[in-house]
Symmetry: C3
Subunit: 148 residues, 3 copies
Protein backbone atom coordinates (compact mmCIF):
# COMPACT_ATOMS: atom_id res chain seq x y z
CA UNK A 1 0.00 0.00 0.00
CA UNK A 2 1.18 3.52 -0.78
CA UNK A 3 2.12 5.58 2.24
CA UNK A 4 -0.09 8.39 3.45
CA UNK A 5 0.85 12.05 3.27
CA UNK A 6 -0.68 15.06 4.97
CA UNK A 7 -0.72 18.62 3.69
CA UNK A 8 -1.83 21.67 5.65
CA UNK A 9 -2.69 24.58 3.40
CA UNK A 10 -5.01 27.56 3.27
CA UNK A 11 -7.10 29.29 0.63
CA UNK A 12 -8.10 32.95 0.70
CA UNK A 13 -11.26 34.36 -0.82
CA UNK A 14 -12.73 37.87 -0.91
CA UNK A 15 -16.42 38.02 -0.15
CA UNK A 16 -18.91 40.88 -0.29
CA UNK A 17 -21.35 41.86 2.45
CA UNK A 18 -23.36 38.80 3.45
CA UNK A 19 -25.00 36.75 2.46
CA UNK A 20 -22.38 36.37 -0.26
CA UNK A 21 -21.44 33.06 -1.85
CA UNK A 22 -18.32 32.20 -3.86
CA UNK A 23 -17.18 29.09 -5.70
CA UNK A 24 -13.89 27.86 -4.24
CA UNK A 25 -13.74 24.60 -6.23
CA UNK A 26 -11.02 25.82 -8.64
CA UNK A 27 -8.76 26.88 -5.74
CA UNK A 28 -9.18 23.48 -4.06
CA UNK A 29 -8.59 21.59 -7.30
CA UNK A 30 -5.44 23.64 -7.85
CA UNK A 31 -4.11 22.59 -4.44
CA UNK A 32 -4.77 18.91 -5.17
CA UNK A 33 -3.06 19.25 -8.52
CA UNK A 34 -0.03 21.11 -7.18
CA UNK A 35 0.44 18.53 -4.43
CA UNK A 36 -0.19 15.61 -6.83
CA UNK A 37 -2.61 13.97 -4.40
CA UNK A 38 -4.16 10.88 -5.95
CA UNK A 39 -6.71 9.46 -3.49
CA UNK A 40 -7.86 10.61 -0.08
CA UNK A 41 -9.75 13.32 1.73
CA UNK A 42 -9.86 17.10 1.68
CA UNK A 43 -11.10 18.73 4.89
CA UNK A 44 -11.87 22.44 4.75
CA UNK A 45 -12.79 24.74 7.64
CA UNK A 46 -13.86 28.37 7.51
CA UNK A 47 -11.82 30.52 9.90
CA UNK A 48 -14.12 33.02 11.64
CA UNK A 49 -17.55 32.78 13.22
CA UNK A 50 -19.52 34.61 10.51
CA UNK A 51 -18.64 32.39 7.56
CA UNK A 52 -19.57 28.88 6.45
CA UNK A 53 -18.94 26.19 3.81
CA UNK A 54 -21.25 23.93 1.82
CA UNK A 55 -21.83 22.67 -1.74
CA UNK A 56 -24.36 23.91 -4.30
CA UNK A 57 -24.92 24.08 -8.02
CA UNK A 58 -23.11 27.37 -8.55
CA UNK A 59 -25.47 29.09 -10.99
CA UNK A 60 -26.86 32.61 -10.33
CA UNK A 61 -30.42 31.45 -9.61
CA UNK A 62 -29.54 28.88 -6.94
CA UNK A 63 -27.03 31.29 -5.43
CA UNK A 64 -29.77 33.89 -4.93
CA UNK A 65 -32.18 31.22 -3.68
CA UNK A 66 -29.67 30.11 -1.06
CA UNK A 67 -29.04 33.73 -0.01
CA UNK A 68 -32.79 34.18 0.50
CA UNK A 69 -33.08 30.92 2.48
CA UNK A 70 -30.17 31.88 4.73
CA UNK A 71 -31.90 35.17 5.48
CA UNK A 72 -35.09 33.32 6.36
CA UNK A 73 -33.15 31.16 8.87
CA UNK A 74 -31.91 34.23 10.74
CA UNK A 75 -33.45 37.40 9.32
CA UNK A 76 -31.25 40.52 9.56
CA UNK A 77 -34.20 42.57 10.83
CA UNK A 78 -34.99 40.42 13.89
CA UNK A 79 -33.86 41.61 17.30
CA UNK A 80 -30.70 39.84 18.49
CA UNK A 81 -29.28 39.63 22.00
CA UNK A 82 -25.81 39.96 20.51
CA UNK A 83 -26.73 43.51 19.46
CA UNK A 84 -27.60 44.63 22.95
CA UNK A 85 -24.01 44.15 24.08
CA UNK A 86 -22.03 44.71 20.91
CA UNK A 87 -24.06 46.99 18.61
CA UNK A 88 -22.20 45.76 15.54
CA UNK A 89 -25.34 44.82 13.66
CA UNK A 90 -24.29 41.25 12.85
CA UNK A 91 -26.26 39.08 15.29
CA UNK A 92 -27.95 37.35 12.35
CA UNK A 93 -24.52 36.68 10.76
CA UNK A 94 -23.35 34.64 13.75
CA UNK A 95 -26.56 32.61 13.85
CA UNK A 96 -26.60 31.91 10.11
CA UNK A 97 -22.98 30.74 10.15
CA UNK A 98 -23.51 28.47 13.18
CA UNK A 99 -26.54 26.82 11.56
CA UNK A 100 -24.74 26.11 8.28
CA UNK A 101 -21.51 25.01 9.95
CA UNK A 102 -17.86 25.83 9.32
CA UNK A 103 -16.52 22.57 7.89
CA UNK A 104 -16.83 20.12 5.03
CA UNK A 105 -15.12 16.90 3.96
CA UNK A 106 -14.63 16.05 0.30
CA UNK A 107 -13.37 12.91 -1.44
CA UNK A 108 -10.31 12.99 -3.70
CA UNK A 109 -10.30 10.27 -6.36
CA UNK A 110 -7.76 9.93 -9.18
CA UNK A 111 -6.40 13.39 -8.53
CA UNK A 112 -9.74 15.23 -8.62
CA UNK A 113 -12.50 16.17 -6.19
CA UNK A 114 -15.19 13.55 -6.66
CA UNK A 115 -18.39 15.61 -6.73
CA UNK A 116 -21.48 15.80 -8.90
CA UNK A 117 -21.17 17.51 -12.27
CA UNK A 118 -23.29 20.42 -11.04
CA UNK A 119 -21.95 20.43 -7.48
CA UNK A 120 -19.47 23.12 -6.46
CA UNK A 121 -17.83 23.89 -3.12
CA UNK A 122 -18.80 27.33 -1.87
CA UNK A 123 -17.69 29.73 0.85
CA UNK A 124 -20.36 31.93 2.42
CA UNK A 125 -19.87 35.25 4.12
CA UNK A 126 -22.70 36.09 6.53
CA UNK A 127 -21.12 39.20 8.04
CA UNK A 128 -22.60 42.66 7.49
CA UNK A 129 -19.45 43.87 5.77
CA UNK A 130 -17.14 42.51 3.09
CA UNK A 131 -14.50 40.13 4.36
CA UNK A 132 -11.27 38.54 3.16
CA UNK A 133 -11.83 34.96 4.34
CA UNK A 134 -9.29 32.25 5.11
CA UNK A 135 -10.21 28.61 4.68
CA UNK A 136 -7.88 26.08 6.27
CA UNK A 137 -7.45 22.97 4.13
CA UNK A 138 -6.05 19.65 5.35
CA UNK A 139 -5.47 16.94 2.77
CA UNK A 140 -4.66 13.37 3.72
CA UNK A 141 -4.01 10.89 0.95
CA UNK A 142 -1.67 9.08 -1.36
CA UNK A 143 0.58 11.00 -3.71
CA UNK A 144 1.04 10.22 -7.39
CA UNK A 145 4.49 9.52 -8.74
CA UNK A 146 3.77 11.02 -12.15
CA UNK A 147 6.39 13.52 -13.22
CA UNK A 148 5.98 17.07 -14.41
CA UNK B 1 1.97 2.35 16.99
CA UNK B 2 0.08 0.55 14.25
CA UNK B 3 0.45 2.02 10.79
CA UNK B 4 -2.39 3.94 9.19
CA UNK B 5 -4.31 2.71 6.18
CA UNK B 6 -6.65 4.57 3.84
CA UNK B 7 -9.56 3.09 1.92
CA UNK B 8 -11.57 4.89 -0.76
CA UNK B 9 -14.93 3.27 -1.36
CA UNK B 10 -18.45 4.18 -2.37
CA UNK B 11 -21.95 3.18 -1.34
CA UNK B 12 -25.00 3.35 -3.58
CA UNK B 13 -28.55 3.91 -2.36
CA UNK B 14 -31.86 4.26 -4.18
CA UNK B 15 -34.03 7.09 -2.93
CA UNK B 16 -37.58 8.12 -3.78
CA UNK B 17 -38.73 11.61 -4.71
CA UNK B 18 -37.58 14.06 -2.07
CA UNK B 19 -37.61 14.55 0.72
CA UNK B 20 -36.76 10.89 1.12
CA UNK B 21 -34.54 9.52 3.88
CA UNK B 22 -32.74 6.16 4.05
CA UNK B 23 -30.65 4.46 6.69
CA UNK B 24 -27.15 3.74 5.33
CA UNK B 25 -25.64 2.55 8.62
CA UNK B 26 -25.66 -1.16 7.64
CA UNK B 27 -23.81 -0.42 4.38
CA UNK B 28 -21.17 1.61 6.22
CA UNK B 29 -20.76 -1.05 8.94
CA UNK B 30 -20.34 -3.68 6.21
CA UNK B 31 -17.49 -1.68 4.67
CA UNK B 32 -15.73 -1.36 8.01
CA UNK B 33 -16.15 -5.04 8.63
CA UNK B 34 -14.94 -6.12 5.18
CA UNK B 35 -11.87 -3.90 5.48
CA UNK B 36 -11.22 -4.99 9.09
CA UNK B 37 -10.73 -1.39 10.22
CA UNK B 38 -10.23 -1.20 13.96
CA UNK B 39 -9.97 2.46 14.99
CA UNK B 40 -10.18 5.65 12.98
CA UNK B 41 -12.51 7.84 11.00
CA UNK B 42 -15.12 7.34 8.32
CA UNK B 43 -15.78 10.38 6.11
CA UNK B 44 -18.80 10.24 3.83
CA UNK B 45 -19.82 12.74 1.15
CA UNK B 46 -23.01 12.79 -0.92
CA UNK B 47 -22.22 13.11 -4.63
CA UNK B 48 -24.69 15.54 -6.25
CA UNK B 49 -26.10 18.90 -5.24
CA UNK B 50 -29.63 17.76 -4.31
CA UNK B 51 -28.70 15.21 -1.62
CA UNK B 52 -27.36 15.40 1.92
CA UNK B 53 -26.16 13.33 4.90
CA UNK B 54 -26.89 13.51 8.63
CA UNK B 55 -27.78 11.27 11.59
CA UNK B 56 -31.19 10.66 13.16
CA UNK B 57 -33.08 8.07 15.14
CA UNK B 58 -34.34 6.11 12.18
CA UNK B 59 -37.93 5.43 13.24
CA UNK B 60 -40.92 6.32 11.00
CA UNK B 61 -42.13 9.21 13.16
CA UNK B 62 -38.82 11.10 13.28
CA UNK B 63 -38.26 10.40 9.60
CA UNK B 64 -41.55 12.12 8.74
CA UNK B 65 -40.82 14.94 11.20
CA UNK B 66 -37.48 15.59 9.51
CA UNK B 67 -39.10 15.53 6.06
CA UNK B 68 -41.60 18.17 7.25
CA UNK B 69 -38.83 20.33 8.76
CA UNK B 70 -36.76 20.16 5.58
CA UNK B 71 -39.78 21.35 3.61
CA UNK B 72 -40.22 24.25 6.04
CA UNK B 73 -36.57 25.31 5.44
CA UNK B 74 -37.16 25.59 1.69
CA UNK B 75 -40.81 24.99 0.80
CA UNK B 76 -41.41 23.39 -2.62
CA UNK B 77 -44.17 25.92 -3.38
CA UNK B 78 -42.05 29.07 -2.96
CA UNK B 79 -40.84 30.87 -6.06
CA UNK B 80 -37.18 30.11 -6.84
CA UNK B 81 -34.79 32.01 -9.11
CA UNK B 82 -33.37 28.68 -10.22
CA UNK B 83 -36.74 27.93 -11.87
CA UNK B 84 -36.72 31.02 -14.02
CA UNK B 85 -33.68 29.78 -15.90
CA UNK B 86 -33.99 26.00 -15.65
CA UNK B 87 -37.70 25.14 -15.24
CA UNK B 88 -36.88 21.79 -13.69
CA UNK B 89 -38.96 22.38 -10.58
CA UNK B 90 -36.22 21.60 -8.08
CA UNK B 91 -35.08 25.00 -6.77
CA UNK B 92 -36.11 23.97 -3.27
CA UNK B 93 -34.10 20.74 -3.59
CA UNK B 94 -30.86 22.62 -4.14
CA UNK B 95 -31.49 24.94 -1.21
CA UNK B 96 -32.47 22.15 1.20
CA UNK B 97 -29.37 20.13 0.32
CA UNK B 98 -27.02 23.11 0.71
CA UNK B 99 -28.46 23.93 4.15
CA UNK B 100 -28.09 20.37 5.47
CA UNK B 101 -24.67 19.87 3.90
CA UNK B 102 -23.14 17.00 1.91
CA UNK B 103 -20.65 15.52 4.35
CA UNK B 104 -20.30 13.81 7.71
CA UNK B 105 -17.45 12.38 9.79
CA UNK B 106 -17.98 9.33 12.01
CA UNK B 107 -15.73 7.65 14.58
CA UNK B 108 -14.71 4.01 14.20
CA UNK B 109 -13.89 2.31 17.49
CA UNK B 110 -13.12 -1.40 17.96
CA UNK B 111 -14.33 -2.21 14.46
CA UNK B 112 -17.72 -0.46 14.75
CA UNK B 113 -19.19 2.98 14.16
CA UNK B 114 -19.32 4.62 17.56
CA UNK B 115 -22.76 6.25 17.62
CA UNK B 116 -25.67 6.43 20.01
CA UNK B 117 -27.91 3.38 20.33
CA UNK B 118 -30.73 5.22 18.56
CA UNK B 119 -28.53 7.17 16.14
CA UNK B 120 -28.38 6.09 12.51
CA UNK B 121 -26.58 7.57 9.52
CA UNK B 122 -29.02 8.68 6.84
CA UNK B 123 -28.89 9.78 3.21
CA UNK B 124 -31.45 12.33 2.08
CA UNK B 125 -32.73 12.91 -1.43
CA UNK B 126 -34.15 16.40 -1.89
CA UNK B 127 -34.66 16.18 -5.66
CA UNK B 128 -38.13 16.21 -7.21
CA UNK B 129 -37.59 12.75 -8.72
CA UNK B 130 -36.26 9.44 -7.48
CA UNK B 131 -32.49 9.15 -7.63
CA UNK B 132 -29.83 6.46 -7.37
CA UNK B 133 -27.34 8.20 -5.10
CA UNK B 134 -23.61 7.61 -4.70
CA UNK B 135 -21.91 8.34 -1.40
CA UNK B 136 -18.13 8.49 -1.44
CA UNK B 137 -16.59 6.99 1.68
CA UNK B 138 -13.01 7.51 2.83
CA UNK B 139 -11.81 5.53 5.82
CA UNK B 140 -8.53 6.28 7.57
CA UNK B 141 -7.51 4.06 10.45
CA UNK B 142 -5.68 1.08 11.83
CA UNK B 143 -6.45 -2.41 10.54
CA UNK B 144 -7.05 -5.44 12.71
CA UNK B 145 -4.91 -8.51 12.26
CA UNK B 146 -7.68 -10.92 13.27
CA UNK B 147 -8.09 -13.72 10.76
CA UNK B 148 -11.25 -14.87 8.97
CA UNK C 1 8.16 14.05 5.87
CA UNK C 2 7.11 13.31 9.43
CA UNK C 3 5.04 10.18 9.90
CA UNK C 4 1.34 10.41 10.64
CA UNK C 5 -0.22 9.42 13.94
CA UNK C 6 -3.84 8.78 14.85
CA UNK C 7 -5.44 9.27 18.25
CA UNK C 8 -8.96 8.16 19.23
CA UNK C 9 -10.23 10.00 22.29
CA UNK C 10 -13.46 11.25 23.78
CA UNK C 11 -14.60 14.33 25.64
CA UNK C 12 -17.52 14.44 28.07
CA UNK C 13 -19.68 17.48 28.72
CA UNK C 14 -22.72 18.05 30.92
CA UNK C 15 -25.52 19.96 29.27
CA UNK C 16 -28.78 21.33 30.60
CA UNK C 17 -32.22 20.83 29.06
CA UNK C 18 -32.09 21.86 25.41
CA UNK C 19 -31.40 23.99 23.69
CA UNK C 20 -28.24 24.27 25.75
CA UNK C 21 -24.86 25.23 24.33
CA UNK C 22 -21.40 24.73 25.86
CA UNK C 23 -17.91 25.74 24.78
CA UNK C 24 -15.75 22.63 24.35
CA UNK C 25 -12.73 24.42 22.86
CA UNK C 26 -10.62 24.18 26.05
CA UNK C 27 -11.19 20.41 26.28
CA UNK C 28 -10.16 19.94 22.65
CA UNK C 29 -7.10 22.17 23.03
CA UNK C 30 -6.11 20.17 26.08
CA UNK C 31 -6.22 16.92 24.09
CA UNK C 32 -4.04 18.40 21.34
CA UNK C 33 -1.60 19.65 23.92
CA UNK C 34 -1.43 16.39 25.86
CA UNK C 35 -0.84 14.41 22.66
CA UNK C 36 1.68 16.96 21.35
CA UNK C 37 0.01 17.06 17.93
CA UNK C 38 1.63 19.63 15.70
CA UNK C 39 -0.26 19.77 12.40
CA UNK C 40 -3.30 17.91 11.17
CA UNK C 41 -7.02 17.47 11.66
CA UNK C 42 -9.37 17.07 14.58
CA UNK C 43 -12.67 15.34 13.78
CA UNK C 44 -15.37 15.45 16.45
CA UNK C 45 -18.73 13.64 16.43
CA UNK C 46 -21.59 13.97 18.92
CA UNK C 47 -22.71 10.57 20.19
CA UNK C 48 -26.52 10.49 20.39
CA UNK C 49 -29.29 11.68 18.09
CA UNK C 50 -30.41 14.73 20.11
CA UNK C 51 -27.09 16.59 20.19
CA UNK C 52 -25.00 18.50 17.65
CA UNK C 53 -21.72 20.37 17.11
CA UNK C 54 -20.86 23.69 15.46
CA UNK C 55 -18.79 26.84 16.03
CA UNK C 56 -19.95 30.24 17.30
CA UNK C 57 -18.66 33.30 19.07
CA UNK C 58 -19.27 32.02 22.59
CA UNK C 59 -20.70 35.13 24.24
CA UNK C 60 -24.03 35.11 26.12
CA UNK C 61 -25.92 37.14 23.51
CA UNK C 62 -25.05 34.95 20.51
CA UNK C 63 -25.64 31.84 22.60
CA UNK C 64 -29.20 32.96 23.33
CA UNK C 65 -29.69 34.03 19.70
CA UNK C 66 -28.65 30.58 18.49
CA UNK C 67 -30.96 28.91 21.01
CA UNK C 68 -33.85 30.98 19.68
CA UNK C 69 -32.97 30.18 16.05
CA UNK C 70 -32.76 26.46 16.79
CA UNK C 71 -36.24 26.62 18.31
CA UNK C 72 -37.53 28.37 15.19
CA UNK C 73 -36.16 25.54 13.01
CA UNK C 74 -38.15 22.94 14.95
CA UNK C 75 -40.41 24.57 17.55
CA UNK C 76 -41.05 22.50 20.69
CA UNK C 77 -44.77 23.27 20.50
CA UNK C 78 -45.40 21.87 17.01
CA UNK C 79 -47.00 18.44 16.69
CA UNK C 80 -44.47 15.70 15.93
CA UNK C 81 -45.10 12.21 14.56
CA UNK C 82 -42.37 10.93 16.88
CA UNK C 83 -44.64 11.82 19.82
CA UNK C 84 -47.52 9.72 18.62
CA UNK C 85 -45.48 6.55 19.04
CA UNK C 86 -43.06 7.46 21.83
CA UNK C 87 -44.67 10.18 23.97
CA UNK C 88 -41.30 11.34 25.25
CA UNK C 89 -41.82 14.94 24.25
CA UNK C 90 -38.60 15.31 22.27
CA UNK C 91 -39.66 15.16 18.63
CA UNK C 92 -38.30 18.67 18.12
CA UNK C 93 -34.97 17.62 19.68
CA UNK C 94 -34.37 14.95 17.07
CA UNK C 95 -35.22 17.29 14.21
CA UNK C 96 -33.05 20.15 15.51
CA UNK C 97 -30.05 17.84 15.96
CA UNK C 98 -30.43 16.30 12.49
CA UNK C 99 -30.58 19.74 10.85
CA UNK C 100 -27.46 21.01 12.62
CA UNK C 101 -25.53 17.78 12.15
CA UNK C 102 -23.41 15.69 14.51
CA UNK C 103 -19.89 16.26 13.19
CA UNK C 104 -17.24 18.89 12.60
CA UNK C 105 -13.66 18.96 11.28
CA UNK C 106 -11.12 21.43 12.64
CA UNK C 107 -7.58 22.27 11.53
CA UNK C 108 -4.63 21.86 13.88
CA UNK C 109 -1.70 24.15 13.09
CA UNK C 110 1.46 24.55 15.20
CA UNK C 111 -0.13 22.68 18.10
CA UNK C 112 -3.33 24.75 18.27
CA UNK C 113 -6.79 24.71 16.76
CA UNK C 114 -6.68 27.22 13.93
CA UNK C 115 -9.92 29.15 14.35
CA UNK C 116 -10.99 32.76 14.39
CA UNK C 117 -10.25 34.79 17.51
CA UNK C 118 -13.95 34.91 18.35
CA UNK C 119 -14.78 31.41 17.11
CA UNK C 120 -15.35 28.63 19.64
CA UNK C 121 -16.35 25.00 19.20
CA UNK C 122 -19.66 24.26 20.89
CA UNK C 123 -21.70 21.21 21.82
CA UNK C 124 -25.48 21.55 21.73
CA UNK C 125 -28.02 19.52 23.65
CA UNK C 126 -31.45 19.57 22.02
CA UNK C 127 -33.06 16.98 24.30
CA UNK C 128 -35.87 17.90 26.69
CA UNK C 129 -33.80 16.87 29.69
CA UNK C 130 -30.25 17.47 30.86
CA UNK C 131 -27.69 15.10 29.38
CA UNK C 132 -24.12 14.01 29.95
CA UNK C 133 -22.84 14.03 26.39
CA UNK C 134 -19.92 12.12 24.87
CA UNK C 135 -18.07 13.55 21.89
CA UNK C 136 -15.79 11.18 20.04
CA UNK C 137 -12.60 12.86 18.84
CA UNK C 138 -10.25 11.48 16.19
CA UNK C 139 -7.02 13.35 15.58
CA UNK C 140 -4.75 12.60 12.63
CA UNK C 141 -1.52 14.51 12.34
CA UNK C 142 2.17 14.89 12.96
CA UNK C 143 3.53 14.84 16.50
CA UNK C 144 6.02 17.30 17.90
CA UNK C 145 9.30 16.06 19.34
CA UNK C 146 9.53 18.82 21.94
CA UNK C 147 10.21 17.48 25.40
CA UNK C 148 8.30 18.12 28.60
Amino acid sequence: MKSLSIFCKSVKVSLDTGPDIRDITPALEQLIDDLRVENGNLCATMVGSTGSLTTIEYEPGVVRDLMAAVNRLAPPDLEYEHEKAWHDGNGHSHVQAALLGPSIVLPIRKGRLKLGTWQQVVALNHDNRSRQRTIEVTIIGTVSERRG
